[in-house]
């Protein structure tokens, strides 16, 4: 498998605190990866670096077959390269309808004049319906996103991520606030998505990670502590000491 994302030797310091310390991770073209670690291990900062929100002090982040450096790009350029992100706290546009939220995320030209002269087509409408079906919000398409429940907002955000059609999905705690049935649905959805693209899931919930049944990276104090199958890393003494033992 060829590498899609290569993070190598990255370090970030916030006011003297080393949030990320010489971190190296590589993600393959179509793979599902879970990133776990205790609070403050640098999971969210890791995502911030990939999506361009935080610029690292040193190290390289190389993307895609053409080996582009993500560090020279703005957040929006990185998103257009095909990296989608779901936030821990669901952030949807609450003043707008579910349909508008999905339409905005849909993969289309992103320039102001492209958008100004954008015309709805049957194909995009069908795609929105398809996504709505997938995330179980078909009946809620005309509703304002602000009226949805917490779980539905999570779904909407996952739907927006799917609409972006990214090559790499960064998903921060997707199962938070979901019922057991919804968790199962999320698992299935992420596993399915990972067949055609790379999916990186940051998660606290071990049971959820177990169900994803994928390669796990354990972060601790800003660098990789262990990597491998869940069973492999849970047997690792270092991991037990810093994370599972507590």
């Amino acid at each position: 498998m060829s590498t899609l994302l290569e993070v190598s030797g990255v370090s970030v310091t916030f006011d003297g605190f080393r949030a990320i310390n010489n971190l190296s991770i590589s993600i393959a073209q179509a793979e599902l990866r879970a990133v776990i670690g205790p609070n403050g291990a640098g999971k969210t900062t890791f995502m911030d670096i990939i999506t361009g929100k935080t610029k690292p002090d040193q190290g390289r982040v190389i993307w895609g077959p053409r080996s582009l450096s993500l560090l020279d790009m703005s957040e929006s350029e990185i998103a257009r390269q095909g990296i989608g992100r779901k936030f821990q706290k669901p952030t949807v546009f609450e003043a707008q309808t579910v349909r508008e939220n999905l339409a905005m995320a849909l993969k289309n030209p992103r320039g102001p004049f492209d958008v100004l002269f954008y015309r709805k087509s049957r194909a995009t409408a069908a795609r929105i319906d398809e996504i709505a079906e997938e995330i179980g919000l078909t009946d809620d398409l005309p509703r304002r996103a602000g009226e949805l429940s917490h779980g539905q907002k999570q779904w909407l955000e996952i739907g927006m991520l799917l609409a972006q059609d990214p090559q790499l999905l960064l998903v921060d705690e997707p199962a938070a606030g979901m019922t057991p049935a919804e968790r199962e649905h999320t698992t299935a959805l992420l596993v399915r998505a990972a067949q055609t693209r790379a999916v990186v899931v940051v998660e606290h919930d071990m049971e959820f990670v177990r169900r994803l049944n994928c390669k796990v990276t354990v972060l601790h104090e800003g660098s990789v502590l262990a990597e491998g199958s869940l069973d492999h890393v849970t047997k690792n003494q270092d991991v037990i000491d810093v994370y599972l033992g507590r």
């Binding site: 999506t51 929100k53 703005s74 957040e75 929006s76 350029e77 998103a79 257009r80 989608g84 992100r85 936030f87 952030t91 546009f93 609450e94 003043a95 707008q96 508008e100 339409a103 905005m104 995320a105 992103r110 320039g111 102001p112 958008v115 100004l116 954008y118 015309r119 709805k120 049957r122 409408a125 304002r144 602000g146 009226e147 927006m160 972006q164």
Partner: protein, 409 residues
């Protein structure tokens, strides 16, 4: 799926209908038709009010929809006014000069004519030469181009610098205010080339149309203002509907999230800022010939703050709200400050509205912000009431994001 633009935005049709009826009624009642119920000076006031409504919808788009609280849009309005004023002054002075030189024993050369015009225009600031700024003032077409280009370019450069460095919220408001203040202070100087604090005057006299009575000219400008407002309303209704509107409102509520969707937020802000600045310039170019005079005090920061007050009182985030706010507050303001409002005698103190109007306006602004964030336009929600489930909290983390009171009832 693809419903027509009007079907999706019924308010556009209602607005255009109301505007046409208003325009026709005013025309019929004016001195042009001989009815004379509405005086020529009041027609001018109404025409000016329509221009203020036009800049108010521009302000609503930039603030109410895109979340950029610009306190500098009157600078663009003023620049539009100066641009057209330069031609009006030049052309009219030229006619006067040519007429007076016609009796000279020798026919005047072109240079003599230009020098005489310069002496006429700039004598008041102790100069007799045309500054470079006036290079195009002889041509109506070029000055009309300046009406669009000057505000547009200033907004483009200023916006590019400000948005690129991600200045947002109150800091951006301060920056826009600094811009308008700097421009106003610059124009106050006698050597700025625009006659310092004298400004440009006599703009109500159109060159070559001395024979046409002011009653006709006032109606012509009133119609032009109404057409401009109608076109501006349709333009902005189109911009803020559909996907563009969706992205703009998303930027208002949570701009960093929009970035992660792949939209280059700064380009969108720049687009909205520049477009609204151009419309503000056009509104100014229609306003000042009706006002007759423009001077640097017109672009002092307070004017732009009033603009924000009108939009807030009318209801931000809906175009007709901005129109109502601008028309209502500016007409009320001229009624109160014009001395027509009866003074209230409290026995121990007499409230003269010329002094107390600003206090009343300030109190109403605070009251609207606190108790009726939807403004006057929010009253329309009472007519078209759609029961919607409760929601809690504001609509986004950004400073300009809608607060929860501004959502659907």
């Amino acid at each position: 799926m693809n419903r027509s633009f009007i079907a999706r935005n019924p308010s556009v049709l209602w607005f255009l209908l109301a505007l046409s009826v208003f325009t026709i009624v005013v025309t019929v009642l004016s001195e042009v038709t001989g009815v004379g119920l509405i005086s020529t000076s009041f027609v001018k006031t109404l025409g000016k009010t329509l221009c203020l409504c036009l800049i108010a919808i521009a302000m609503d788009v930039v603030w109410g929809y895109c979340g950029i609280l610009s306190l500098g849009h009157f600078a663009f309005f003023g620049l539009g006014g100066y641009a057209i004023g330069m031609w009006l002054m030049y052309a009219r002075t030229e006619l006067i000069v040519v007429e007076s030189l016609a009796n000279a024993p020798l026919p005047p050369t072109d240079k003599e004519v230009v020098d005489a015009i310069a002496t006429q225009i700039f004598g008041v600031v102790g100069s007799s030469e045309f500054p470079l700024l006036w290079a195009f003032s002889h041509s109506l077409a070029l000055q009309l181009l300046m009406v669009v280009l000057v505000p547009g370019l200033l907004a483009l450069v200023f916006g590019w610098l400000a948005f690129r460095s991600r200045v947002t919220g109150v800091y951006l408001s301060i920056l826009t205010q600094a811009m308008t203040l700097a421009l106003s202070l610059y124009l106050f100087q006698n050597d700025s080339g625009l006659r310092g604090n004298n400004g440009l005057s006599g703009l109500q006299n159109l060159p070559g149309l001395d024979a046409v009575p002011q009653s006709v000219i006032s109606i012509a400008f009133f119609w032009a203002s109404a057409v401009a407002l109608g076109l501006g309303y349709v333009l902005f209704a189109w911009v803020v509907s559909g996907k563009m509107g969706s992205v703009i409102r998303a930027i208002r509520d949570n701009e960093s999230r929009v970035r992660f969707l792949g939209y280059h937020v700064e380009s969108y802000k720049l687009f909205v800022f520049t477009l609204t600045a151009i419309v503000a310039g056009i509104a100014g170019a229609l306003y000042y010939p009706q006002a007759g005079i423009i001077n640097p005090a017109e672009i002092a920061p307070i004017a732009s703050i009033y603009l924000a007050v009108w939009v807030a009182i009318g209801g931000r985030g809906r175009l007709y709200g901005a129109v109502i706010g601008a028309a209502f507050v500016s007409l009320l303001s001229s009624w109160f400050t014009g001395g027509s409002a009866p003074a209230i005698n409290l026995g121990f103190y007499t409230i003269n509205w010329t002094d107390w109007w600003l206090v009343l306006l300030g109190v109403s602004f605070v009251a609207v912000t606190l108790f009726f964030p939807k403004g006057i336009g929010g009253l329309f929600d009472l007519i078209v009431l759609k029961p919607v489930a409760d929601r809690q909290g504001d609509y986004g983390p950004d400073k300009g994001a809608w607060r929860k009171e501004e959502g659907e009832p």
